[in-house]
């Protein structure tokens, strides 16, 4: 005779610090057996008051704060801020500076995507992949160090240009690393992408449907995996992206369903060759000339006005709204960050998921608590 097991819902709290979490956050889960019934989030543990701090510092110092918006992809915060300030000030970065900015952007995108692949590898227990990917990401961090002196918080973009010209051998090494990455991508694919064990963990899991993605304003690779074809580099070209030839991959649910964890992984893997293509073209055609239109002094003032800068960060649409009432200090700097939307839809995605899938889901969503909390 079969006996039905009756269990009560249990309540789990995970965080704010836990190895399975993408950063400091608290997950409050209601669980039925091993199935998550519902989940709530508590964030704010990484709030540093960045936007307020920017209002209290002179304009040139704000770049340092923008740099800390998302430490893993520091350039994008700097860039969005600089584009907005340049709009107000009427500054125009010279073509050489634009090319250096594109190189930095795409190297950062690849670096952040490699970090993502390593995190998904860790969540699924693919130790070999983690070591391969982090080994290769080091090569990109070496390039950052060669150009800016820093490996993570680059603090290199400036109003009207960049902080310095390219160092000797930088361009050649960008081309070298690009070639190497093409070979490595094949290795990752052979090793992992359609690996049976990985498919069992990721295919069909944590599906974000197009409607759900749109309802929460999701952008970036997560939205593109769900079928939303939006990339700021195409929709609102900046830094001369309109003249560059690259494709924007979309998710098709090749191994499971469109918008599942596998699609999100695959999409990033497919964005890397597009970035490599851009790097190759730009590195081979860096224009000569100045790297900045003027030297920005500590007393730099921004005229009264407003600007709005948009960039495609490694996680999606990163926008910066800047208001100046003239003078040495900003009146308001506001960031629209892609992770806010991802966090907003998380409770809907985790409902119905087995608890064992939670680490894989969280890794596949590429959350940056640093940018969400600011």
């Amino acid at each position: 005779m079969l006996e039905r097991l009756r269990t009560d819902l249990t309540y789990w709290e995970i965080g704010p610090y836990h190895g399975a979490l993408p950063g400091p956050m608290r997950l409050k889960l209601r669980i039925d057996g091993e199935i998550i019934v519902s989940g709530e989030l508590e964030t704010g543990f990484l709030h540093r008051g960045l936007e307020k701090a920017m209002e209290l510092h002179p304009w040139p110092a704000t770049i340092t704060y923008a740099d800390h918006l998302d430490p893993e992809a520091a350039v994008f915060g700097e860039l969005a801020l600089c584009l907005a300030v340049e709009e107000i000030s009427g500054l125009e970065a010279p073509p050489r500076a634009q090319a250096i900015r594109v190189l930095l952007s795409e190297l950062t995108r690849i670096s952040a995507h490699l970090g993502y692949i390593a995190r998904v590898g860790r969540a699924t227990g693919a130790e070999t992949l983690i070591h391969y990917v982090l080994r290769d990401r080091e090569r990109i961090l070496d390039l950052f160090e060669l150009l800016t002196g820093a490996r993570y918080s680059l603090n290199f973009v400036r109003f009207g240009g960049v902080a310095a010209d390219v160092t000797e051998g930088f361009i050649e090494r960008v081309l070298e690393v690009s070639e190497l990455m093409r070979v490595r991508l094949k290795e990752y694919n052979d090793l992992f992408t359609f690996n049976h064990a990985f498919l069992l963990r990721a295919a069909g899991m944590g599906v974000i449907e197009m409607g759900l993605a749109f309802r929460h304003g999701l952008t970036g690779p997560n939205a593109r995996a769900a079928g939303i074809s939006f990339d700021v580099r195409k929709a609102h070209p900046y830094l001369g992206f309109e003249a560059l030839d690259f494709e924007v991959p979309l998710g098709h649910g090749e191994a499971g369903r469109q918008g599942d964890a596998h699609d999100r992984f695959l999409l990033r893997l497919r964005e890397i060759p597009q970035s490599l293509e851009i790097l190759k073209h730009v590195a081979e055609n860096v224009p000569s000339g100045e790297y900045a239109c003027m030297k920005i002094e500590r007393e730099f003032e921004v005229p009264r006005g407003e600007g709005y800068g948009r960039v495609e960060s490694s996680r999606g649409l990163l926008a910066c709204h800047v208001v100046s009432d003239s003078g040495r200090f900003p009146a308001r700097i506001q960031f629209r960050v892609p992770t806010t939307a991802t966090l907003a839809l998380l409770p809907e995605v985790i409902a119905g998921l087995p608890i064992a899938d939670l680490p894989v889901l969280l890794a596949s969503l590429d959350l940056s608590l640093a940018e969400a909390d600011r």
Partner: protein, 171 residues
């Protein structure tokens, strides 16, 4: 679609709602200033009109200019390249009681992605969107005041930890 045509549609749907159009930045973009109380009607027109279909709230930004909070909605369409900027203001009364905090109608029923953005602005500026003072979870629990207001006074002590801005010459 020309901005003038959009304004004509808005005037028809919500008479008196549009206050003015004004330049935004140097890029040629224009912002439509509206009465805050007319936000739901204006938002519904912008989203539902078949020629506009501005169904995506890209960003919601709040800035304090003197004694007013300026709320800016950056809109775009999924189906067309159309973008628009919508703005409304509310006046601040710095000695307000919690019940007197500035109120702005919510647009989350029209643009669902507004929910998290409104919560964030509510927490940092003390605006009641749709009559509700929400916490987005950006600030630690128990935080007092609205840090992005210009009148915000930094606390001397936060959760038992002394805090001082002495020695910083910036502000």
């Amino acid at each position: 679609m020309e901005l003038a045509a959009i304004i004509t549609k808005l005037n028809k749907a919500a008479p008196g709602a549009v206050l003015q159009k004004a330049r935004f930045g140097r890029g040629g973009a224009q912002a439509i200033w509206i009465e805050a109380r007319a936000l739901p009607a204006v938002a519904a027109t912008l989203r539902n009109d078949p020629d506009l279909k501005l169904d995506w709230l890209e960003n919601l930004s709040v800035a304090q200019l003197e004694d007013a909070l300026v709320i800016t909605y950056f809109l775009r369409s999924r189906e067309t390249p159309l973008c628009a900027i919508l703005r409304a203001t509310v006046t601040l009364n710095e000695n307000e009681s919690p019940a007197e905090l500035p109120e702005v109608p919510s647009v989350r029923e029209i643009w669902p992605m507004a929910r998290s953005m409104e919560r964030e602005s509510s927490e940092l500026f003390g605006i009641r969107f749709g009559g509700e003072l929400a916490a987005a979870g950006i600030l630690p629990k128990g935080w007092r005041g609205f840090p992005l207001r210009k009148s915000y006074v930094f606390p001397q002590e936060v959760f038992g930890i002394a805090h001082s801005r002495q020695g910083t010459d910036h502000a």
